[in-house]
């Protein structure tokens, strides 16, 4: 099927197999390998991207479902060499170890802060429910998001 999608501000037209997931489309067709696949049941959140401004799990969306949508992936978060305040906060607070869940965490964090610029610790933890991290115990991810909120509100 023919689809047209805007990804990180650039519009692409591709003929894709209807069964291809958005995550596979990003990784295999567009070489945007920052979107990771840790499961295929929306369980781990490593594939989290933004579809029309809201976070979504790219492993359980078909590429054909996002025809006409605007997608943002981790590759679209930094402004050239300048990292997004959320990315900076993750580095500053050691909010990542192996880095595999990190793109999904950053995309989810952006969604949490978009909807709630001053979240409590509890709200952050609730917002992170759909994303697994096996390395950090979430401690420093929560701190990173708290720190990012402070910076973005300053």
């Amino acid at each position: 099927m023919q689809i047209s999608v805007t990804i990180n501000g650039k519009t692409y037209a591709h003929d894709v197999e209807p069964r291809i997931s958005l995550a596979q489309y990003l990784r295999e067709t567009l070489n945007l390998t920052g979107t990771h696949i840790g499961c295929d049941t929306s369980g781990c959140g490593s594939c989290t991207v933004h579809v029309d401004g809201a976070s979504a799990k790219a492993c359980t969306l078909l590429a054909v479902q996002v025809d006409g949508c605007e997608i943002k992936t981790i590759e679209g978060m930094a402004n050239g060499s300048e990292m997004h305040p959320i990315q900076e906060a993750f580095k500053e607070n050691h909010g990542l170890q192996c880095g595999f869940c990190t793109p999904g965490m950053v995309m989810t964090a952006a969604d949490i802060l978009k909807n709630n610029p001053n979240p409590s610790e509890e709200e952050i933890r609730h917002g992170l429910e759909g994303n697994f991290c096996r390395c950090t115990g979430y401690h420093n991810i929560v701190k990173s998001i708290q720190h990012a909120a402070e910076k973005m509100n300053a």
């Binding site: 070489n31 840790g38 295929d40 981790i74 595999f100 990190t102 697994f132 096996r134 115990g137 979430y138």
Partner: protein, 786 residues
């Protein structure tokens, strides 16, 4: 001059990870690369009656289909550790085939391998492979596997035992002491099976280059050189010097990516057959079915005390599952990584552990974060808390009574245990004191008493652990059955401009080696961190190495780098002395330059480096260049220790456990980067909490896994966990140059019993003395009702 050791330096790895620019194996694409899929058994135990691949072979885009009847069916992957029976019989070591031929021995065992032009076409064709099975009864419980009449995993032996083993004092002596003890506490439970669940699934690409007659294997591994050695010398019999194993970024491992897996060997074999690169990446359910699991011990234990509460003897019998085949380190886990920690932090004079390790119709069990040591710690820390309750003593007081006294391992000797090891240095009462202080233990007990009056169920649980890390002195592990040495390699290449490349055989899968190693190299050489690059994960670049596991990277790998730095400075001093026209012994090295003592005459590290590569004005008899490699084989394990304390509240209506506070005071020796050590502790603690409250791999009676996805296997999520309160004491390791002990596994070792002790404490006034892990609301509720 800026120094870096002990400072929370931000990680240099993070820039690529945060931008989505990490290079994990599945991110790699090679020209002409094919994709692959496995046909896996839906039975845990079955005869393979027939395999028909004809439809699959004709399917669109299929390049090749292999089964156990092809040449690869005669190839197996090896086990790296041999533990023989107590009676001298050799360990039973079955062939672990790349593809099953006649018989299936665990759910998910591979029967056929399909290679096609795309992943989708490979998966389509795999569905066309027609396998006829004759299902057989299966046994998944290690204790039931040893019952008479149990279904046999391997027909060639009379029962399912892979080996049995014991350690410690004479059993009769221990039994006699228990018979005479003032009080005996007894426990029977299961330390249940876990799936490691690195979020990056295993991924491999094998690429055979026909013109060069060389193989490259890209793999998500914790130890590239070990994989190459096992692959070349034992699995495929191909020349090691013609094989390059590359592992760029690895998305977590926790033990599960140590082992040489059948898929690595099969892809490497098949790549030569088809003359093209092949990629395979596990999906999550395949990961549950085929990644080596952890734990799975059935435990029966008795601990005896005298009238003052001093431990007099400890006797334990365990059945420990091996799974269907022996994975790389599997036999070491319930034996030398487990029984050797039965001393714990206590002066127990008599200890005996007996282990029976049977094959089961399950995926192999091997090292998972802590590997044998969490199982030992869980037992010791649960049984001592249970004993305290039975003897009406405070659990902290009972521990203080039994602690080994502090010793530094330098002016005071190490502590010789009853179970083979000699601890390096320790101050066990120090960490418990600090942990209790962090918690405000006495105040908490008052709060708890008040809460109980109001029907609120609050509990506190203490765990005071020790672990054996810095794996390992080669001669010691060799005498214990290891088939490899466990030294590490560190290579320091000073470039002509004074910039430094450091090559290490340790391999980060999240630990931050690129930052931490550069920190101490910078301090030792007195040069900026920016002038140092850390290279790892490529057998063509790094001379050799044993990889990262057992909290060994800094203690063993870091020490190897230090040895090479010493060689660089020693040779540099000869060059500096020549240039400064001074005697070597008159020089001192500090802040990146050699200075003639008492003068302002000096030469910088950079100038000496350049001179070494442009040796025009050069000392006689000294070779050009400044490039040294060293092997470091430790003289002992390292023994980190600590205290973890959990506070929980149990909901009286639902049995749900909420962790209100978690306090961790750890002693990991000297600390290079406190930010990273804290991060390791946080992550380990949460994995341990996961075992205590949430996670379990469950096989049903037929060997079907009922927890094969994230919908069914309960991993800790952000809202299950509180902030972790951390602090440290510092007791340096006396036998390695950095004085470090390792921090990777501590969290997962200390936390699990702390949580379960807390839950039992919360319910103790209701008569609850034990609850089987994972402590689910259902189990808690049942315990409260009974």
């Amino acid at each position: 001059m800026e120094t870096f050791i002990g400072k929370p330096v931000k990680r240099r790895e993070d820039n690529r990870f945060l931008k989505g620019a990490g290079k994990y194996t599945d991110d790699i694409k090679l020209h002409g690369m094919t994709h692959s899929a496995f046909v896996r058994s839906p039975y845990a135990h079955a005869k393979i009656v027939s395999v028909d691949t004809s439809a699959a072979e004709k399917a669109e885009g299929v390049v090749a289909v292999y089964t156990g009847s092809d040449a690869c069916g005669t190839i197996g992957v090896p086990c790296g550790w041999q533990v023989d029976f107590k009676n001298g019989e050799t360990m039973r070591e079955p062939m672990h085939p790349l593809l099953a031929k006649d018989k299936i021995r665990h759910l998910g065992e591979a029967v056929a391998f399909v290679i096609a032009e795309t992943l989708e076409l490979a998966r389509d064709a795999a569905e066309l492979v027609d396998v006829k099975y004759e299902a057989l009864p299966a046994v998944t419980c290690p204790k039931k596997a040893m019952a008479s009449g149990a279904p046999k995993v391997h027909d060639e032996w009379e029962d399912n035992a892979a080996f049995d083993w014991c350690i410690g004092n004479d059993r009769a002596e221990v039994e006699a002491a228990l018979a005479n003890a003032h009080h005996v506490t007894e426990m029977t439970y299961k330390n249940h099976r876990l799936a490691p669940n690195a979020i990056e699934p295993r991924s491999y690409i094998a690429d055979y280059d026909v013109n060069a007659d060389k193989w490259t294997l890209y793999t998500s591994t914790q130890n590239p050189h070990l994989v190459r050695l096992l692959l070349c010398a034992f699995a495929l019999g191909i020349p090691e010097h013609k094989v390059r194993v590359v592992s760029y970024d690895v998305g977590g491992g926790f033990g599960s990516k140590i082992y040489h897996y059948t898929e690595e060997a099969l892809l490497t074999w098949a790549s030569k057959e088809i003359g093209r690169p092949i990629k395979w990446t596990s999906d999550r359910t395949e990961a549950f079915l085929t990644d080596a699991h952890g734990r799975d011990h059935i435990v029966h234990s008795k601990m005896g005390f005298d009238k003052d509460g001093k431990i007099v003897a400890h006797l334990t019998d365990e059945f420990c599952a091996m799974g269907a085949y022996l994975s790389t380190f599997a036999p070491a886990v319930p034996t030398y990584l487990h029984g050797t920690l039965f001393q714990g932090v206590y002066t127990t004079p008599l200890i005996h552990l007996n282990v029976v390790a049977p094959f089961t119709h399950t995926v192999p069990v091997d090292a998972y974060r802590g590997a044998g040591r969490p199982e030992a710690t869980y037992l010791l820390e649960r049984i001592i808390s249970k004993a305290a309750k039975e003897m009406d003593m405070d659990p902290a007081e009972l521990r203080f009574k039994n602690f080994i006294s502090p010793f530094n391992g330098t002016t005071e000797p190490g502590y010789q245990t009853q179970v083979a090891l000699q601890y390096d240095s320790g101050n066990y009462e120090g960490v418990l004191k600090r942990g209790l202080e962090m918690l405000g233990y006495e105040d908490f007990r008052k709060e708890q008493a008040e809460a109980r009056k109001n029907g609120k169920l609050l509990g506190v649980g203490i765990s005071t652990y020790i672990e054996g890390c810095g794996i390992a002195p080669s001669a010691v592990v060799g005498s214990l059955g290891a088939r490899a040495g466990l030294y590490e390699v560190g290579h320091v290449r000073v470039q002509p401009t004074g910039k430094v490349s450091v090559f290490t055989g340790a391999h980060s899968h999240g630990q931050g080696h690129e930052t931490v190693f550069a920190q101490f190299v910078a301090d030792k050489l007195g040069i900026p961190m920016d002038d140092i690059d850390i290279v790892h994960g490529d057998t063509d670049q790094v001379a050799f190495g044993m990889g990262t596991y057992g909290s060994r990277s800094l203690a063993v790998g870091g020490s190897a780098i230090i040895k090479s730095i010493e060689k660089v400075l020693e040779k540099g001093a000869k060059i500096a002395a020549h240039k400064l026209e001074a005697a070597e012994e008159d020089l001192e090295y500090a802040e990146g330059k050699w200075t003639v003592k008492g003068t302002d005459k000096s030469i910088s590290f950079g100038d000496v480096s350049l001179t070494a590569y442009v040796p025009h004005d050069y000392p006689e008899g000294v070779e050009p260049g400044l490039d040294f490699s060293s092997f470091y084989d430790p003289t002992n394990f390292t023994y980190p220790f600590g205290t973890h304390i959990a506070v929980v509240e149990v909901c009286s209506d639902t049995g749900k456990v909420e962790i209100k506070r978690f306090v961790a005071c750890d002693d990991v020796g000297n600390v290079m980067n406190p930010m990273i050590v804290d991060g390791q502790i946080h992550g380990g603690v949460v994995q341990g909490i996961g075992q205590a409250l949430l996670e379990e791999v469950v096989y049903d009676g037929e060997g079907q896994m009922v927890t094969g996805s994230y919908m069914d296997y309960a991993m800790p999520r952000a809202d299950d966990i509180p902030m972790i309160e951390t602090d440290r004491t510092t007791t340096p390791c006396p036998h390695n140059p950095l004085g470090v002990k390792g921090a990777g596994e501590a969290g997962a070792i200390g936390s699990t019993p702390a949580v379960v002790n807390a839950v039992v404490d919360a319910l103790s006034h209701l008569g609850v003395t034990d609850i089987q892990m994972p402590v689910t609301p259902k189990r808690v509720w049942k315990a409260m009702q009974s």
